[in-house]
Amino acid sequence: MTSTATMPQPASFGRRLKRFMADRPLIPLIILLVILVLILQVLRPGIVNERWIANTAKFAIPLAILAGCQTMTMLTSGIDLSVGTVATMSAFIMATQIVNQDPTVAFILAMLPAVLIGLVNGIGVGVFRVHPLIMTLGTSLIGTGFLQVYQRTVIASGARIPDFLNWLGTGLTYGFPNALFLFVPVAVLIVFTLNRTGFGRLLYAVGDNERAARLSGVRYWQVITALYVISSLLAGITGLLYIGLIKAPSLSLAEPLVLPSVAAAVIGGTSIFGGRGGYTGTIVGALILTVLTTLLTILHMPEGGRRILFGFIVLFVTAAYLRIIEDR
């Protein structure tokens, strides 16, 4: 107490850095991204070119949208681990239903499980107050079960990737990936919702101090239910995009994206305890992770090592942000 009052100027470098990180998390994140790209360029001279950038963007976009689901749920101190299953379900149902159905019907059928899982998640978390992690893990197990049953019924008819999704997933327009046509509106919408609408403010309010939010008349369960349905819908749309990119429908299509999506949101400065963070940081976080993955692939790091690294990143970043908050 007294030290701050008597001598304000000699704040240590570490403390200033912390303050800086807390106030403008985007700048150090972008610096980190640039450093990673430079390392990549040094390791493989000439790898960083237009095609590489387009390719990186293509793979970062599905991750960034799923990380958007995590960002929004984390703002309410939740998490959505069912995004992988939901994305896989939508993708698989789309690819198999398009064979016999009208595209619109197939799209609605593909989005149906997303809405249902989101609804169950929301009711479980909002009304019954189950921990979001356990709840979404449970619904993703159930979803995978349904998918396996469903798979048997469509073995005969086969699967096909609709041309439109192909175009969206892998196509380029003037060197820009077409996926941006989907991503830019989604990103703008998320940022706008979080920063400029009442719903966005409710998310922050609920995550920051749930009791205060309740006492000021926020209907907690309605906010949470809406949030998890939106999160699931986004995951479903990501699944459609991802199937256009990967082009091989399988029952574990989007599962590998779940852990990185959590890591991307955490790196982007969204607090896993709720109330703090935003989507712009998450987007940079997703880019960092995609570049990092490329780097690790070049260094021949196996999948296991990658997961270990992601785990440590989540732990380290969370601990670091915790210190910053305590410092204030």
Partner: protein, 328 residues
């Protein structure tokens, strides 16, 4: 006194439910006998250890999301160490793997205490890390188990003085489970340490003020959880003869059985017996579904739905027990 009655009442109710399920099983399959009971005990083994691991931590007021990943890692470690090795080598492998579980569990606790990041985030991060490590040890299911270990859970336990018909109902797996859990749990429950574990789960601040070493107790609780998870991993390797690096559905199952077993998710209440009986109940439901010739994938859906319902019910009870408006 009332609490004692209520807790024992819960366990007694579970036992009645278990008995009722046995009657149902007998009705569905009149030939259900001691052999089937033996295979039930074998199937329960890994689940029971997972639940024991979760129970210790939940009683101490925490949660361990890394249980399933820990089991996967210890399982693949044991399987790959025993692969091609002599039978005697397994005498070294078993204590080694158990020590590994103990150490990794203690690391979980240490990270929680040192970083002051909430347990749910730390164990989520270690979930990633342990999963990755399991993949590094063994990329695909493989390895082997020593024959004497495999034999240790097959068949029945010869108990002198017991008639043959009764002996048939004492499968080795059940005895192994009872011995392993009893050796650790019963002395613990009666010791100062056990009391401390209940104390920090019930009210951390009160425990701290009464001189309970909170940090040390928490680390011990997680270490014990790691030990039980390692036992679970070993039993997985023994019963399947191989190790699989992908974690099974043990996390959700462990949480569901803990809730069903009458252990409050807030901590400080309940024992080990309830959750273990709850595991038998959950497994027997699965057996019944299989006996009814229901598609295994549909069984997975029903099982998942039951577990989610149980967890929802448990969370609902917890919020009812709290003063209105309190934040979790």
């Amino acid at each position: 006194m009332m609490r004692f009655l209520r807790r024992q009442g819960w366990v007694a109710g579970l036992l009645a439910l278990l008995f009722f399920l046995f009657v149902v099983t007998k009705l569905i399959q009149p030939g259900y006998g001691s052999g089937d009971f033996g295979s039930l005990a074998r199937a329960v083994l890994p689940y029971a250890f997972a639940v024991a691991a979760q129970t210790v931590v939940v009683i101490a007021g925490g949660i361990d999301l890394s249980v399933a990943a820990m089991m996967a890692l210890t399982s693949v470690t044991a399987a790959s160490m025993m692969n091609g090795a002599s039978e005697e080598y397994a005498y070294f492998v078993v204590p080694f793997v158990l020590a590994m579980g103990l150490a990794l569990g203690a690391l979980n606790g240490l990270l929680i205490v040192v970083t002051r990041v909430p347990d749910i985030v730390v164990t989520l991060a270690t979930l990633f890390v342990l999963q990755g490590a399991a993949l590094l040890v063994l990329e695909a299911p493989g390895g082997a188990a020593a024959e004497w270990l495999k034999a240790s859970i097959v068949g029945t336990m010869p108990i002198p003085g017991l008639p043959d018909w009764a002996q048939a109902w004492v499968p080795k797996a059940l005895v192994l489970l009872a011995v392993c859990l009893g050796i650790v749990w019963i002395p613990l429950r009666r010791s100062r340490l056990g009391l401390s574990i209940y104390a920090i789960g019930s009210d951390e601040l009160a425990a701290f003020r009464s001189g309970v070493p909170v940090a040390r107790t928490r680390i011990v609780a997680y270490a014990l959880s790691g030990l039980f998870a390692a036992l679970g991993g070993l039993s997985l390797t023994i019963s399947t003869g191989i190790g699989a690096p992908i974690p099974g559905p043990y996390l959700l199952a462990s949480v569901a059985a803990v809730v069903l077993g009458g252990v409050a998710l807030g901590g400080g209440k309940g024992g080990l017996l309830g959750p273990i009986i709850a595991v038998f109940v959950l497994r027997l439901v699965r057996t019944d579904l299989t006996l009814l010739a229901i598609d295994p994938n549909v069984t997975a859906i029903i099982e998942g739905a039951i577990m989610v319902a149980v967890v929802m019910f448990g969370a609902f009870i917890t919020i009812r027990g709290r003063p209105a408006g309190a934040t979790p």
